[in-house]
């Protein structure tokens, strides 16, 4: 029988790792995800997880050791956030290029400067081009579930790409919620043992990994990463279906909430989706036709799902806890890509909010809806808005 336990998001991530039975874990502490390696060390110390835990001297070495272990053919896990993820940046490309299905939990945190330990999505968003799959959790249960699903997708032979699962700093990493811990046997059935066919450092059958690719081969190698990412769309759907069968919880690449007949749809990710859904309920009671959509899978980007969503509304209001300077939120550019050749498309507005742990309040969301309604009635005047800025201290 699945067990219910009240736990922090970090513990949920550590539990997911325990259930997935990686053989090697290498991690380095960083707020807010420090508890993940701590908890895993406890599991290993108590013999509840039979893994090698490498206490590396940096995140760069954490991911490098994971690449080494994965290249040697074992299931591998790590966790980090923010500056730690940024320090891994170089190796993230390599992990994807070498097609190593490493899974990494990220307590989504802002990047310096100014140094800030609180939540936004700048860390993972900034790694969107590395070739890693990206999932975002709304709550602690999702953090656990998506990590398990991420292993399954990453290790699928049609995919073989590393995956990161983000869950918001403090809002999830440090907040206790009831989480259902699936039975080990069911997880074992779901994941199976990882048996690599392409990456193994076996003296019986020596292979060379990580070779130099001349111009004659480089593009083809990169294309296979593109192809794998495309394949992941279907695989993720299959995995989510199987997940539902095994564990009873249904996941969607984009989860829609009260979008039928909605004029304005607030599109968001991570824990903010919880706030937004509640806000939608409130506005619906007031008779305002709005809905919400939560992007659970950000890479591969859900292009078809966004197109479908766009058909439903007059305005897509993107709520983003990240910024790509000089253009707007990253999701904004992605949504633009999805809709650019559509004949009929809604107004798309971008709202930058909640950076560095600033609360996103109902007042902020009211303002968003206000701006969206104005754009609907009077046409688009601006496209990118910063919401909740304290103009008096600028």
């Amino acid at each position: 029988m699945p067990m219910r336990k009240v736990m922090k998001g970090n513990e949920a991530a550590a539990w997911a790792a325990k259930l997935a039975k990686p053989k090697v874990i290498a991690a380095f502490p960083i707020t807010p995800s420090t508890l993940v390696p701590e908890k895993i060390s406890e599991f290993v110390a108590d013999g509840e997880l039979d893994a090698e835990f490498i206490k590396v001297e940096s995140e760069h070495s954490a991911i490098s050791a994971c690449v080494g272990a994965s290249a040697a053919g074992v299931r591998t896990f790590t966790a980090t956030a923010s500056q730690g993820l940024a320090l891994m940046h170089e190796i993230l490309f390599i992990a994807a290029g070498m097609r190593l299905p490493i899974v990494m939990a990220i307590g989504n945190r802002a990047l310096s400067a100014p140094i800030n330990i609180w939540n936004d999505w700048q860390d993972t968003i900034s790694e969107r081009d590395t070739g890693w799959l990206q999932f975002y959790a709304e709550n602690n249960q999702e953090a656990l579930d998506l990590i398990l699903a991420a292993f399954k997708v990453a290790e699928d032979e049609r995919v073989l790409l590393p995956a990161m699962v983000g869950f918001d700093a403090f809002i999830l990493t440090h907040t206790v919620e009831p989480v259902e811990i699936p039975d080990q046997e069911v997880v074992d059935e779901f994941l199976g043992e990882y048996v690599p066919k392409h990456a193994y450092l076996d003296p019986e059958r020596p292979i060379t990994q990580g070779a130099l690719g001349f111009p004659a081969h480089y593009m083809e190698a990169r294309y296979t990463v593109w192809e794998a990412m495309e394949n992941a769309r279907e695989v993720i759907k299959e995995v989510f279906e199987e997940f539902e069968k095994k564990f009873g919880r249904k996941y969607h690449i984009i989860e829609e909430y009260r979008t039928d007949d909605a004029e304005i749809i607030l599109v968001t990710m991570g824990s903010l989706a919880g706030t937004v859904k509640e806000f939608v309920d409130k506005k619906r009671e007031e008779g305002v036709k709005i809905g919400a959509a939560k992007i659970t899978v950000y890479r591969p980007f859900p292009i078809e799902e966004i197109k479908a969503l766009a058909k439903k509304a007059k305005v897509l209001a993107l709520l983003e806890k990240n910024i790509s300077f000089g253009i707007g939120g990253a999701v904004y550019t992605d949504v633009g890509r999805a809709l650019i050749n559509e004949k009929e498309k809604p107004i798309v507005l971008d709202f930058i909010l909640g950076l560095g742990g600033r609360d996103v309040t109902f007042e902020n969301l009211e303002e968003v809806v206000e701006i969206a309604r104005k754009a609907m009635d009077e046409g688009v005047k601006e496209e990118v808005y910063w919401i909740g800025l304290r103009k008096e201290i600028l």
């Binding site: 893994a51 490498i54 940096s58 490098s64 080494g68 040697a72 074992v74 020596p206």
Partner: protein, 315 residues
């Protein structure tokens, strides 16, 4: 007449056809190191192939693993410039879990070891991974076209330490990474030179057979980087030992009071002057117009020996 067993194994892991320059010192290192490793693995585990290689970016990685070819007959992985030691840590951990018997060989140049890879190396040694780190020291970044590293010797020309009106070339003493490695109190640390291949071979075997981490730093001349004729590679590497500029030693468990030396003159007097070593190399050519720089190099060499516990005389 009895056939003598060859002093080194005839097994090959470094295949002919790699793309290194003619006379490449590090290429000789690859060949000897893997052979020595296989002998050690055979003795220790009964399986000469019981090892894998984690390689740092650099000349030897680039010339050996050009897709779709490979010069390696052993399992081999390259990830990046600065992380061979961390990658080796991961491979070793995976092997432990897979119950695979054997040892990991991490390989990096002086740049990938003395500079950018220093932290990862320290981590690997400190955590006591069962791996050997081999630093082939060609005393500059050769893969990017001969820039100085912290292992470039005093006075040497490189493209980023050019001699000029206000410069004698590289103006800092060479960093001796072996001493840093030994400070981690790991079971085995050694310096070597391909000028004494059997000594290097023995040291690699020793490194591979100890339990836990080991570090070997081997001097290996680079033809274009040192501006030397290809046929002089071994002679130069020999002269480095004979002139005293490159001490050969072993330190076990960080015991600096019991350093073992090889090829050290009993009376502490080196017979061949350092000039003999320098004059064969284009990278030191300019020093012969600056005798005070050669004096300085000699003083630094004496100082290094003094730190190692030996008073020496250099002609």
């Amino acid at each position: 007449m009895a056939v003598r067993k060859p002093p080194i194994t005839t097994r090959e892991y470094w295949a002919p056809g790699h793309a290194a320059c003619a006379g490449c010192g590090p290429a000789i290192v690859m060949k000897l190191a893997t052979k020595a490793f296989s002998e050690a693995m055979e003795a220790k585990y009964g399986d000469p192939n019981a090892f894998a290689i984690a390689h740092a970016t650099g000349c030897m990685e680039v010339v050996s693993g050009v897709f779709p070819y490979t010069a390696w007959k052993a399992p081999w992985v390259h990830v990046a410039f600065e992380n061979a030691a961390a990658v080796a840590s991961g491979v070793e951990a995976a092997w432990k879990k897979l119950g695979r018997k054997g040892k990991i060989l991490a390989i990096g140049g002086d740049g990938g070891t003395a500079d950018i890879g220093m932290q990862a190396l320290s981590g690997m040694l400190e955590r006591r991974h069962n791996a050997v780190y081999l630093m082939y020291d060609n005393e500059a970044y050769m893969n990017t076209g001969i820039q100085r590293s912290s292992s470039t010797p005093y006075g040497a020309w490189t493209t980023t330490s050019p001699p000029g009106k206000y410069s004698i070339g590289e103006d800092k003493p060479k960093k001796i990474v072996a001493l840093i490695a030994a400070a981690h109190q790991v079971p085995y640390v050694a310096t070597a030179s391909i000028g004494d291949p059997l000594d290097f071979y023995r040291k690699m075997k020793k490194a591979a057979s100890v339990d836990g981490p080991a570090f070997v730093q081997v001097l290996a001349p680079c033809v274009p980087g040192w501006r030397t004729p290809p046929e002089k590679t071994i002679e130069i590497a020999k002269l480095a030992i004979e002139t005293g500029i490159w001490p050969l030693f072993e330190i076990e468990n960080g015991d600096f009071h019991n350093i073992k030396f090889q090829r050290f003159p009993k009376d502490g007097k080196f017979k061949k002057p350092i000039e003999e070593y320098l004059k064969l190399q284009g990278r030191f050519k300019h020093l012969f117009k600056r005798p005070e720089a050669i004096e300085e190099l000699k003083n630094q060499t004496k100082e290094l020996w003094r730190i190692l516990g030996k008073e020496v005389e250099l002609p």
